[in-house]
């Protein structure tokens, strides 16, 4: 007997608007219908009514977590159109802020995933580790989010020399904490049982669906815009692209945890290279944006952010296209939830780290009888945590017997 389960319009894990209608046969998901657009704000149209210099303030509001990534891709699109590069110091500052953002985004996801699995200690740890990062971002940019750092041609604020020891100290502390957290996740048999083989989306499927970021890399699809389409300082620093092979929830978590180490590595290199640049030289002036078109891509925490701008030589874009990585990644749920249980569906749909604003309700529909019921956020979290608890008890019993 096949039923349909609606999930949304707010995701149980991420408190953002979406709606999934799960088609279930007993506890098994056999189909899904995804509805997005609950917070469509017409950003692209708004952008066509703002000057080139005003648009970064608009696009950083596409997403509170990726509030550096969207303006970063946008300014790169404008610079592509103008054929200019930011000064070296601005390039390093851009990369430092962008990698600090990746660290806080990945830690945020790990904490929320821990909560959904019933590991509230993980939730509390990660959010404690993340807090000093936001303090550093505030010290460096003036804001915990919406940093207002990017501008076409460079950055708006320099990093004061006296902040550098604080950032280095934070990185040392964060590296130690992230190692502990990573080991705890990699070693926990219950997390293995809950996430391995769950929500699998393989490499070929990733390519067909244009999956991006940790979603693609967890399945072995070797894509990372920082290396593939290097911008600014990314071709001046060394870092590894983290790849796994199974494409399940566990590998997605592993990719994010290991990428944190790479981000720390990048920031340290950028801070070192920053010393060889002249303070204050942070912007190349743009006097005129020529007619034509430009593409800007940047590897945001969730995957490649893509911005396309077209100019007629005026002071505003005549077309601005924004593609957040979630637009490609959320569609992967079309296949990744199939065959899994209702208690795993919330976790799988959250494993791509979706950025819906950039939507929680689960509807269940019995395909045979047409019976419908709604699962609330609390229901989904309870189902997931109950499953973890059952596995935990089973493992404890086995250990007792052994």
């Amino acid at each position: 007997m096949v039923k349909k389960i609606p999930i949304g319009p707010f995701h149980p894990l991420l408190e953002e608007p979406e709606f999934f209608e799960l088609h279930v046969d007993g506890e098994r998901v056999v189909g899904i219908d995804i509805t997005i657009g609950w917070s469509h704000r017409g950003i692209e149209l708004l952008s066509e009514h703002k000057t080139w210099d005003q648009v970064p303030f608009l696009v950083e509001r596409i997403c509170g977590i990726c509030s550096c990534s969207h303006p970063y891709a946008y300014v790169k699109a404008v610079e592509d159109l103008c054929g200019i590069e930011a000064p070296p110091r601005a390039q390093f500052i851009r990369c430092i802020v962008a990698e600090l953002e990746r660290l806080h985004s990945h830690l945020l996801w790990t904490g929320l995933a821990g909560h959904f699995l019933g590991y509230n200690t993980v939730f509390m740890w990660t959010w404690r580790f993340r807090e000093p990062l936001l303090d550093v971002l505030e010290a460096v940019t003036g804001n915990r989010n919406h940093y207002a750092v990017m501008k076409p041609g460079g950055v708006r604020r320099d990093i004061p020399q006296e902040e550098i020891p604080n950032i280095l100290k934070l990185l040392d502390e964060l590296e130690k904490n992230n190692r502990m957290l990573t080991n705890a996740i990699l070693d926990d048999p219950v997390i293995h049982a809950r996430t391995k083989g769950v929500g699998v989306f393989n490499k070929d499927q990733c390519r067909l669906y244009g999956a991006l970021g940790p979603t693609a890399r967890s399945a072995g699809l070797d894509v990372d815009a920082r290396r593939d389409h290097p911008i600014d300082a990314y071709d001046k620093v060394s870092f590894n692209v983290i790849l796994c092979e199974h494409g399940d929830v566990f590998d997605k978590a592993v990719v994010r945890q290991l990428e944190n180490f790479e981000s720390i590595k990048i920031i340290r290199q950028c801070l070192r290279l920053l010393e060889g640049t002249k303070p204050g030289e942070i912007c190349t002036e743009i006097h005129e944006v020529p007619p034509g078109e430009g593409i800007g891509v940047y590897e945001a925490p969730r995957g490649e952010v893509f911005h396309y701008v077209r100019s007629n030589g005026g002071n505003m874009p005549i077309r601005h296209r924004v593609r957040a990585p979630s637009f490609n990644n959320i569609l992967t749920n079309e296949l990744s939830v199939l065959g899994n249980t209702v208690s795993d569906a919330g976790l799988i749909t959250a494993a791509v780290d979706p950025c819906y604003s950039c939507t929680e309700r689960v509807g269940i529909v019995d395909r045979a009888s047409g019976e419908r019921r709604i699962l609330t956020e609390a229901d989904l979290v309870r189902l997931s945590q109950e499953k973890t608890e059952a596995i935990r008890k089973r493992f404890a019993a086995l250990k007792g017997n052994g």
């Binding site: 997005i36 657009g37 469509h40 017409g42 692209e44 149209l45 592509d80 054929g83 390519r207 067909l208 669906y209 244009g210 999956a211 894509v223 593939d228 389409h229 290097p230 020529p290 007619p291 034509g292 078109e293 593409i295 891509v297 490649e304 893509f306 396309y308 077209r310 100019s311 007629n312 030589g313 005549i318 077309r319 296209r321 593609r323 637009f327 490609n328 569609l331």
Partner: protein, 173 residues
């Protein structure tokens, strides 16, 4: 695959049905006729090994310019393919049979610009409520006067081709 090789193979396969332009070492543009649109996407994605990235539509007075982006990651450049779906009923074949990941962007282009993608598996609106009036397309500009279209204007500036989304003059490289 290197840029020159990609340009040559596209020119060899599609001949006069495409116009190829290169505006920087990182950007190759291919202007295609509607009839080879899907085959061009298939050739890039399946035969040449490009990655599917995303798409974009640009509204014009006499049609909608449809653009898809296929990066070659290892070689650090993008191939941008373009075609023009003429008004009053812009219609194109869907590339979802080649890249299923294009489902949502084609749905968005339909809902915003009224580009009707033939053979698309499900052209419901993706961003707004399906209770919206069936004939309302948010980003579509209606032009009822007799003004010269942006696409037809040629003021002698070589870059105006880019603004109007027209293929460049000359022959394929």
């Amino acid at each position: 695959m290197e840029r020159e090789e990609v340009k040559k193979r596209i020119a060899d396969k599609f001949g006069s049905k495409v116009r190829i332009a290169e505006r920087s070492p990182k950007r190759v543009y291919v202007y295609a006729e509607n009839e080879i649109w899907v085959e061009l996407a298939r050739f890039l994605f399946n035969d040449l090994g490009a990655r599917y990235d995303t798409g974009c539509a640009v509204d014009d007075r006499d049609g909608v310019e449809v653009i898809f982006f296929f990066p070659f990651d290892r070689e650090h450049y993008f191939v941008t393919i373009k075609t023009f779906a003429a008004k009053p009923n812009p219609t194109l074949n869907s590339i979802t049979s080649v890249c299923p990941g294009a489902k949502w962007i084609e749905r968005e282009m339909f809902e915003m610009y009224e580009v009707n993608f033939r053979n698309h598996p499900d052209l419901r609106p993706v961003l707004r409520a399906d209770t919206r009036p069936a004939d309302y397309f948010a980003a579509k500009r209606e032009v009822k006067d007799e003004h010269e279209t942006v696409r037809e204007r040629d003021d002698g500036d070589a870059r105006s081709d880019e603004v109007a989304g027209r293929p460049p003059k000359g022959t394929n490289p």
